[in-house]
């Protein structure tokens, strides 16, 4: 009876260790995938921002709000918040508004945030063509970041999942 109970406990413990390892691996993979999704959203937001400026000459605060709402996710929230903090009614430039918005919202992609910060420093005081050109340059950079992340995702997400499960299993064997 006692021996059976010990075996059962070991089985449950091993299962838990393997599950924990697996979960850790899946969580790491999800982080990589989440960053990719965030960068994809950012790319969509920049495309939307470019259209708002090129075709509708929408004032930048409003264009940022629309692009943010269309993109969704944390990066969308960050853009929309930047739009609502910037402009004449708030007496604030875009880069200052972005700094404030970043204190409230912190998206999962530091790379997207870095591109956005650089873009914000150039938005708001140049002509129509230059403004669209700055956004296009950011779109190009975001695309290459996305491609990098897609490759990373293919390699690392699977690796993290297997690694998590195998590490859990190895640890369970050692413990047994």
């Amino acid at each position: 009876m006692t021996h059976t109970m010990v075996l059962a406990a070991k089985a449950v413990g091993s299962a838990l260790v393997i599950a924990a390892g697996g979960l850790a691996g899946f969580a790491a993979a999800r982080r990589v995938e989440a960053e990719l999704r965030e960068v994809e959203r950012f790319e969509n937001a920049l495309l939307c921002l470019s259209s708002e400026i090129s075709y509708a000459l929408t004032p930048l605060p409003e264009a940022l709000k629309r692009a943010g709402s269309a993109a969704g996710g944390e990066i969308g929230t960050l853009l929309a918040r930047t739009g609502s903090l910037a402009g004449l009614s708030n007496r604030r430039s875009v880069s200052r508004a972005l700094d404030l918005a970043l204190a409230e919202v912190r998206p999962q992609s530091p790379k997207a945030v870095a591109i956005l910060k650089e873009l914000a420093a150039n938005l708001g005081f140049s002509g129509h063509k230059e403004e669209v050109r700055y956004i296009e340059m950011s779109i190009d950079r975001t695309r290459s970041v996305r491609k990098e992340l897609e490759g990373e995702c293919r390699r690392k997400a699977r690796l993290y999942r297997y690694l998590g499960l195998f590490s859990g299993a190895s640890l369970a064997i050692v413990l047994l």
């Binding site: 400026i53 004032p59 910037a86 004449l88 708001g124 005081f125 002509g127 129509h128 403004e131």
Partner: protein, 314 residues
């Protein structure tokens, strides 16, 4: 607590902190001058300059080029690209109808267009509607059938031409029983956004309920557009002078609308020396004239009545 002056409400909060504090301090020390301030000027490397009652005062430390760059970004609502044509014209209008004039290093492009590349001077011109400014002359300008006669307002710059024109538009739009004016549909062609001072197409001044505004529209084209589309009883426009303007005024009058217009000058005689204004006056297109000066402060009415009467400061 009294209502805030437009300067304190709309302009002061926009100034860079290093310029705002000394201006706010000066306004507190000199409350009598607060409502007389006509301009606030910021120049890179110079103290802020407050213009009032024909004089000025320099206040505080030097404004930096970066502060001016931030200021331009804010007054353009972070949307320079949406206001490029206004910036090319050298000014933008902000809420409250105040004009922000710009100067600095200009770039000339091969197609002949110009753009201020580096803004180094910013001037806030305070817009203050003077309700009632036109009531003292409305009776003189009434045609006895309820409408204002076609009137040319003449004065040197800064004497209140546009302020008077704006109030005459309001009087035509609201009606003024004391002067025998009944409400009319009023069309304003506001080429420089000074009469209605539109911000994003919405007039920032009280012009009454029957006013249609063509904002930033060339005068001659705008008058024709209004005649075709809005059938105004009264058309108002600022600073007429070209042949095209004169022909448009003549067409509007032939179409049965009254025209209220302004013109730079010190007297009717001086205006008559210019070809197209002279043609409009001598052909009898304008029936009344108002001559303004600053003799007893801006808006001093030197003469209001028929064109043949006394027409300049004595």
């Amino acid at each position: 607590m009294g209502m805030l002056d437009p300067l304190e409400r709309d302009i002061l909060p926009l100034l860079p902190p290093r310029a705002r504090a000394p201006v706010a301090g000066w306004l507190t020390e000199h409350p009598a001058f607060a409502r007389a301030v006509s301009e606030v000027r910021l120049r890179a490397g110079s103290p802020v300059c407050v213009v009032y009652q024909g004089t000025d005062v320099l206040l505080g430390g030097k404004t930096s080029p970066d502060e001016l760059k931030d200021l331009i970004e804010v007054v353009s609502d972070c949307s320079y690209y949406a206001l490029e044509s206004e910036f090319t014209g050298g000014y933008v209008t902000i809420p409250g109808g105040h004009r922000v004039g710009l100067a600095g290093q200009v770039a000339v492009f091969p197609d002949g267009s110009v753009r201020i590349r580096q803004v180094t001077c910013v001037s806030f011109r305070v817009a203050r509607a003077v309700r009632g400014a036109g009531e003292r002359v409305a009776k003189e300008l009434s045609d006895g059938k309820g409408r204002l006669r076609s009137t040319l307002i003449i004065s040197p710059p800064g004497c209140g031409k546009t302020t008077l024109l704006r109030d005459l538009c309001r009087i035509s739009s609201e009606g003024c029983p004391e002067a025998g004016i009944i409400p009319s549909q009023v069309g304003i062609v506001d080429e420089r956004s000074e009469i209605a001072a539109c911000y994003r197409g919405i007039p920032q001044h009280d012009l009454g309920p029957r006013v249609d505004v063509l904002d930033k529209c060339p005068k001659a084209k705008g008058m024709m557009m209004l005649l075709r589309s809005m059938s105004p009883g009264v058309i108002a426009t600022d600073e007429i002078g070209s042949e095209e303007d004169a022909e448009a005024v003549a067409t509007a009058l032939t179409a049965g609308a009254s025209v209220l217009a302004t013109c730079h000058g010190e007297s009717v005689e001086q205006v008559k020396r210019r070809p197209y204004s002279s043609w409009l006056i001598s052909s009898g297109y304008f029936e009344r004239v108002v001559v303004l000066s600053r003799r007893r402060g801006p808006g001093t009415v030197e003469y209001a009545g028929e064109i043949g009467g006394r027409s300049g400061p004595s």
